[in-house]
């Protein structure tokens, strides 16, 4: 990003999740989770379907209440940081038939910085242009989001997250259902955000990708199984503990059988009205 936005990323965000329990309608999707995410680090959240990856993100953005425990960002309880957390939703959480252009979507990223009744100004549109350029979307700025390919749609939301100038970026399954080019762009962006000291949390069920591209991996199965560098977090024992049912041992190589249906919270929309 260019100079006028660099100062917007001050100190990297510290994220403390302390003993958090949360879930839908009576059942707990996340139990006693304690995680200290070091400032500016890039963490892959992995685990089987229904492990509470989406739940964790919903709790972090304030879409779901915490039953027990607390979450602190910059050593303050969540809810105080309007412009601090950006979230890239899963594809099915977005209404793609809505009449908005790519530029409209990215401009929404600026709303965090604007007052309730303020309109985006020329500085905002400069930031928006920058973000569009970074995601290689300038040519498509005036296209309807519904007319884009899946990868382009994801890049539009990445551009919006950039425009938010977040301290913490959450991405829910960004590598699922997109083409190889988009996976590359997304990984490049994550690497780029590392220089900007943005704390990034990415949920994925692709263990290889997590091990190759992330310095830290948190393995979940409702509870935290392990957390640390990939070679320490993803061992035979921890994988067995997380994937007990789906783990297949083929001649010493562990394979995760990932064919079961996605957990239901992936399809949960925050809004029904």
């Amino acid at each position: 990003m260019t100079k006028h936005t660099d100062h917007e990323f001050p100190e990297p965000a510290r994220l403390d999740i302390d003993n958090v329990t949360a879930g839908y309608n009576g059942s707990d999707a996340l139990i006693d989770l304690t995680l200290q995410i070091p400032p500016g680090s890039q963490v892959a959240i992995v685990g089987p379907n229904g492990a509470g990856k989406s739940t964790l993100f919903k709790v972090l953005v304030g879409l779901m209440p915490i039953r027990k425990g607390s979450i602190q960002i910059h050593c303050q309880p969540i809810g105080q940081h309007r412009d601090c957390v950006a979230y890239i939703p899963q594809r099915e959480e977005v209404d793609w038939k809505f009449p908005v252009t790519v530029r409209d979507v990215v401009t929404m990223g600026r709303y965090a910085q604007l007052g309730w009744f303020a309109q985006p100004g020329s500085q905002d549109s400069e930031v928006v242009d920058d973000c569009l350029k970074q995601m290689n979307l300038l040519d498509l700025a005036n296209a309807s989001v519904g007319d884009l390919s899946g990868g382009q749609q994801q890049r539009a939301f990445l551009a919006r997250a950039l425009a938010q100038e977040p301290h913490i970026l959450l991405m829910d399954e960004p590598f699922t259902g997109v083409d190889a080019a988009t996976v590359e762009t997304t990984l490049a962006l994550i690497k780029n955000l590392r220089q900007k000291k943005v704390t990034v949390l990415v949920s994925t069920h692709d263990l290889n990708l997590a091990a190759q591209h992330f310095e830290l991996v948190a393995l979940l199965n409702k509870r935290l199984i392990s957390f640390g560098p990939p070679e320490k977090a993803l061992t035979q024992e921890t994988l067995k503990a997380a994937f007990s049912q789906q783990l297949v041992n083929m001649n010493g190589a562990l394979l995760v059988d990932d064919c079961c249906p996605p957990d239901k919270d992936h399809h949960h929309r925050g809004d029904h009205a």
Partner: protein, 283 residues
């Protein structure tokens, strides 16, 4: 041609009907954009019927019928939001339950009123040709207030409709914004209904916005075009009603429907016929 246009305007009832039609056409068509984008078409229809007990109670208490209607509409709207919020009952079921309950309560109350006649049917079915100046002023004032709120809260309503998760990330009070939208819808329905009736309100909330949706790619353009289509349908409908001697409400609805069909078939981006012609082209 000019004479054709001017003759109806020499009647005062036609002048008022035109003003009322344009006002209601614009108001419903703009709010209607959110109705169709948020899939609330059923809710709009339900609200229009659910005001019945409010009117009946206001009538029994010798109160203001419009106020009674408004209170009932807002209560039902917020009640639906409350029931479906927990997620155990789907929103369309919540609407179905509350809407039929309100309707039944209204009919039960009305059946106990012996003198019920003109007043109630007027407010339910409207009479665009019999509108008084007072009604016009009320509709215009409320309309201006509603449109101002829609403009002021454009960002909020856009985000809550397109991406409620972003609203949560921004720590906006999502429930308040949703309720504000529901109250605007309730207000629109109540002020429009006594001029044009239940059927016309339900149509104007859905048909012009759906037509505009087919022809535009951004929400502000969709709202502007929808308002134009709503106003134009009212004008053309009233002229047709005058010359073809048809009841005015249905004439307006059918005009709006006709415009929708044209857009549905010929819209450059989303039109059915266009698509067919394109796909039939030899490769």
């Amino acid at each position: 041609m000019l004479e054709w246009l001017i003759t109806p305007l020499t009647y005062q009832f036609m002048q008022r009907a035109l003003v009322a039609g344009i006002l209601v056409g614009i108001l419903c068509s703009v709010i209607g954009c959110y109705v169709i984008l948020r899939s609330m078409a059923f809710l709009g229809d339900a609200l229009a019927h659910a005001i019945l007990p409010g009117i009946a109670i206001a009538y029994l208490l010798n109160g203001n019928l419009t106020l009674g209607a408004l209170v009932a509409a807002i209560l039902v709207a917020l009640g639906i939001g409350q029931i479906s919020k927990q997620g155990t009952i789907r929103e369309d079921s919540a609407i179905g339950i509350l809407f039929t309950a309100a309707l039944a309560l209204g009919v039960a109350l009305i059946s106990s009123i012996r003198t019920y006649a003109v007043d109630l049917s007027h407010i339910l079915f409207g009479d665009i040709l019999g509108i008084g100046v007072g009604d016009l002023i009320l509709t215009a004032t409320t309309g201006v207030i509603i449109l101002t709120v829609v403009l002021l809260f454009y960002k909020q309503f856009l985000v809550i409709s397109f991406d409620p998760v972003l609203a949560a990330t921004l720590r906006w009070p999502a429930e308040w914004i949703r309720n504000a939208l529901l109250i605007l819808l309730a207000l629109t329905i109540v002020v429009s209904m006594q001029t044009v009736g239940v059927g016309l309100v339900a149509a104007m909330l859905v048909t012009p916005p759906a037509t505009a949706y087919l022809l535009t790619r951004r929400l502000p353009a969709m709202m502007a075009l929808s308002a134009l289509i709503g106003a134009f349908s009212a004008i053309l409908g009233l002229y047709i009603s005058y010359y073809a001697n048809i009841v005015s409400g249905p004439a307006i609805v059918l005009t709006a429907t006709g415009l929708f069909l044209i857009a549905y078939l010929f819209s450059p981006r989303k039109g059915r016929l266009r698509k067919r012609m394109r796909s039939a082209k030899p490769l």
